[in-house]
Symmetry: C2
Subunit: 456 residues, 2 copies
C-alpha cells in the first residue's frame, strides 16, 4: 500500500523533538483581545492574575511578542515517556473511501489520559511545583483533562483537586478510578462544597452541570486555599502555547517526507487541540509563507464558532473569572444532556476567536449521530476507537475526502485525532442501540443566552 | 536522564520489521508432546484438526521443523497500523526504585484491543478469509482476545461469535460495546445456547464461568455451523508462532543499540505473550548462542506452572477438545471469583510446558494485591495504566530491580507489558477501596482437581 514510501506511521526521533513551544500570538497582526477585570473592565494585570494562576504561567498568558518559549528539560523528559506521537497515513481509510485524497492524522491518544491534554497538564504542574505550591484545582468535562492533570501532579508530587461536570461523572464512572490511581480527589460539579456550587444548585436544581460551573468551583477553592492555584485545560493562551507541540511535531514529520498539506482539520471545544495543531501552519499563513485551509469542527449542540457572538463574556458560569473576548454562546449556556463527550464549553479561545474573526480559518458544526457514524467507520478500518471529540474531525476529514473522490482532486488532508474513546462507551452503546439523538439549540434558546451577556 | 544515549522509546523503522514469524519448536531438542485424540489417544492428524481449525493454521500447528514462516503481505500491512510497538527504557521507574538495574519493557497496549492479542487475531482471521469461511467462533476471558478478534474479523469482513467468561462479561460491560463497534456478537459463558453450556450450568448452577467452559461452547458452535471454524487466542503452537513478532521486534531493538539483557520476564496465562516474547531469546539459548534467565509470572490464584501437574489433560472444561500435555490444574479448575483480569486458564502451552520441564525457564506465582501495588507504582511513574495481566510481570521486574539495588548489580531486565488496564477499573476500584483479597487454592482443592485428570 505504501507505494510512495510514506510509512504508515511517521515517528520523529527523540533528537527531532521540538525543544521550544511556539507562541502563535507573536505572528498575529491583530492580537487577541485582553482579559478584563470583571469589576473595573480594565485589562487584567499580571499581579491580579497571579492570585489565580502560577506566576510563570501568567507570564506566558500575557506575552504576545516572544515567538518561542524553551521547554524546560524536566518537561522534555516527561514528554519522552509518551511522545513523539505518531503522524499516521490513513491508507486503510483512503482505500475504504476510494478517495484520491491523502489523509494523515496526528494521534495523541497513546497515553493514559487518552488525549493531548497531558501536553499542557505536565507543563502547568511543573510550574506549580517550581513555585513551591502544595497543589492545584481544576475542572474536567469528559475527564481527559482531569486524568491528564492527575498524572502530571502525581509525577511532581502535587495535590490535585478535580471538579468534574456531573453528567460526565455519572456517564464515566471509571474515569474517577483512573484519577484515584494517580492520587487525585474528584468531586461532581456543581457540588455543595463551594459557595458558587450551592448558588448554582439553588438556581438550577437538578442541573447536570457544565464546564462553566466546574471552573467557578475550582477557581473558588484555589483562591480560598493557601498554597493552591487554579489550572485550566483549554481556552487560555498558555494552554495553546503548550499544545503547539502537536503542530510542531506534525509539521516536522510532514517536512521530513516533503509532504505539503492542503488543509488542517481539528475539533474545537475551548480550542486546546485546534490551537496547538494549527499553530505552526497558521504561523506560516500569518507570515505569508504558505497557505492552508484551516477548519475547526464543533458539535452542532454547542456551536460557539458557527452560531456564537464575538463578544466579551465570562469564562465561567459563576461569573467569578475575568472577562474574555471570544465567540460565545453565553456563560449560562449548558449543552443538552444528550450531548456526549467533551467540546461542551460555552466559549472559544480568544486567540482562535480573533483568527476566525479575521477570516483566517473556517468553522463547521456537525450533529453527533453523524460523528458517531464516522467514528465507527474509522475504528473499523484504522483500528483505533476514537474519542467522540476527535470524531468531529474525522467526520469532516471523511467529508472532504469524499468530495475529492467526486472531483478527482488528490488533496492532502491532515487532521488531529486527539484521543481514544475507551471511556466513552456509554455513548457508543447509545449509538449502537439507536438511542442517540441530535439536539440543536433553537435561535430562541441562543438569543435568551445572548441577552445575558455582560453589557458595557 | 538518557545519558547513555538509549532513547526512552526505541521504535524500529518499518523496513526493520520482521518479515517472518519464528517457530521456536524447530530449535527444541525435546519437542512438545503432540495433541491426542480424546477417544483413541492417538496423535491428532491434520485431517482431524481441520474440522476445528483453518487448514493453514493446522499446518502451522503441526510443523515442528520449519524455523521461519513468512508473514503474508496483508498481515504485514495490518501490523503496520499498530506496530512496531515501542521498546521503552523505564528511566522513571529505575529512578523511583533507586536501582542500578536497567529496565526495558516491550509495550503492546497501543491498539484498541489493548493488548498483544491482535498479533495472532489478524493472522487467524486472514487464514480464515483465505479459506473462504463465513466466520469464526472463539472464547474470551478478560476480553482482550475477543476485542482483538473482532477488530481482525471486521478488517477482513468475517462474522465473529465471541463466548465471554461470565464473570468478565459482568465486570467489563464496556468490552462488549467495543466488540459491537467492530460488529461481533458476544454471549456470556456458560450459556444456554449450546449443549455443553447447558450441561455445565446443570452441574454447576451459578458458576461464573471459565476459559475452559467458553472454549467448549465456541468449539461446539464452530463444528456444528457450516462455514465456521474455531480460533483460540493462546495455548496453541500457532498462536506462539504469530506472537513471536513481539520477541523478534524486541530482539531487533535491543540489537540495534547493542543491549544484552540478563533476564526476560513475562506474564503467563496460556502462554501467548510469554511464548512470543521469549521466542528468539530461547532460540539462542537452545542453540547455545547465548544465555538468559527467562521468568514466567503467573497468578497465585491460578498457578499452573508452579503448582500444576505436567500431564495430558483436556484443553476445555467440556472435554470436547483434544488432549494436550501441559502443566495443568485440571480442566475443571476455575479460579476463585475474586481473581481479577485474565491469566485464568487451567493449563499452559505445551511448548512452554516442555521448556519448563527441561529446566530452560523459571516460574514464579504472585498474589494479586501485590500485583496491583506494582501496577499503581508503575502507572504513577511511567504514565501507563497497565492491565492486571501485564502487572504480574511488572511485579517481578520490580522485585528483581530492588534486588539489584541490594547487591549493586547493574542487570538488564526486559519485561513484556502486554496491555492497558482501561477496562479493568472495577478491579482497580476494589484495590483502592481495600476490598481486594488474595485467594490461593489449597493443596486439597488442587488434589481434588488432579484426581479428575484423564488416566491412561
Amino acid at each position: 500500500m505504501s507505494a510512495n514510501n510514506i510509512p504508515y506511521k511517521i515517528y520523529l526521533n527523540e533528537s527531532e523533538l521540538p525543544k521550544a513551544w511556539y507562541n502563535l500570538r507573536a505572528d498575529m497582526k491583530n492580537k487577541p483581545a485582553p482579559l478584563l477585570n470583571p469589576g473595573t473592565h480594565a485589562p487584567m494585570t499580571a499581579q491580579e492574575l497571579s492570585g489565580v494562576f502560577c506566576e510563570e504561567l501568567v507570564r506566558q498568558e500575557l506575552d504576545e511578542t516572544t515567538p518561542y518559549f524553551p521547554i524546560p528539560q524536566e518537561i522534555q523528559d516527561f514528554y519522552k515517556m509518551y511522545r513523539p506521537s505518531p503522524l499516521v497515513r490513513a491508507y486503510c481509510l483512503e482505500q475504504k473511501l476510494q478517495t484520491p485524497a491523502k489523509i494523515y492524522y496526528k494521534f495523541e491518544g497513546n497515553n493514559t489520559s487518552g488525549s493531548h491534554k497531558l501536553n499542557s497538564a505536565i507543563a502547568q504542574a511543573y510550574y506549580a511545583k517550581q513555585q513551591g505550591l502544595k497543589g492545584v484545582t481544576t475542572e474536567t468535562g469528559a475527564g481527559q483533562w482531569g486524568t491528564a492533570l492527575s498524572m502530571a501532579c502525581s509525577y511532581f508530587d502535587l495535590d490535585c483537586k478535580v471538579y468534574m461536570v456531573k453528567v460526565s461523572y455519572e456517564q464515566k464512572p471509571f474515569r474517577r478510578e483512573v484519577m484515584r490511581t494517580y492520587g487525585a480527589s474528584v468531586t461532581p460539579s456543581p457540588s455543595l462544597e463551594t459557595q458558587v456550587g450551592r448558588k448554582i444548585l439553588a438556581e438550577h436544581p437538578g442541573t447536570t452541570g457544565s464546564l462553566g460551573c466546574a471552573i467557578s468551583e475550582a477557581v473558588e477553592v484555589a483562591t480560598s486555599t493557601e498554597g493552591y492555584r487554579y489550572v485550566l485545560g483549554s481556552v487560555l493562551n498558555q494552554v495553546l502555547l503548550h499544545q503547539s507541540i502537536i503542530g510542531l511535531e506534525t509539521k516536522a514529520a510532514l517536512d521530513k517526507y516533503g509532504i505539503q498539506p492542503d488543509m488542517i482539520i481539528g475539533c474545537a471545544g475551548g480550542g486546546s487541540n485546534l490551537g496547538g495543531l494549527i499553530a505552526p501552519f497558521m504561523g506560516e499563513k500569518l507570515r505569508g509563507e504558505a497557505d492552508y485551509r484551516i477548519i475547526a469542527v464543533e458539535p452542532a449542540s454547542c456551536p460557539s464558532f458557527t452560531r456564537g457572538k464575538y463578544a466579551y463574556d465570562f469564562c465561567d458560569t459563576g461569573m467569578v473569572c475575568p472577562l474574555a473576548k471570544m465567540y460565545t454562546l453565553g456563560s449560562g449556556f449548558i449543552p443538552a444532556p444528550n450531548h456526549a463527550g467533551g467540546l461542551r464549553y460555552h466559549g472559544m479561545s480568544s486567540t482562535l476567536s480573533q483568527l476566525y474573526a479575521d477570516g483566517l480559518m473556517e468553522a463547521v458544526a456537525v450533529p453527533q449521530t453523524e460523528v458517531f457514524q464516522a467514528a465507527e467507520t474509522f475504528a473499523r478500518v484504522e483500528g483505533i476507537l476514537p474519542a467522540p471529540e476527535s470524531s468531529h474531525a474525522i467526520k469532516v476529514a471523511i467529508d472532504e475526502a469524499i468530495q475529492c473522490r467526486e472531483t478527482g482532486e488528490e488533496k492532502t488532508i491532515v487532521f488531529g485525532l486527539t484521543g481514544t474513546g475507551y471511556f466513552d462507551l456509554v455513548a457508543y452503546e447509545k449509538f449502537h442501540n439507536g438511542e442517540m439523538s441530535d439536539y440543536i439549540p433553537t435561535d430562541e434558546d441562543l438569543q435568551a443566552s445572548f441577552d445575558k451577556l455582560p453589557k458595557f
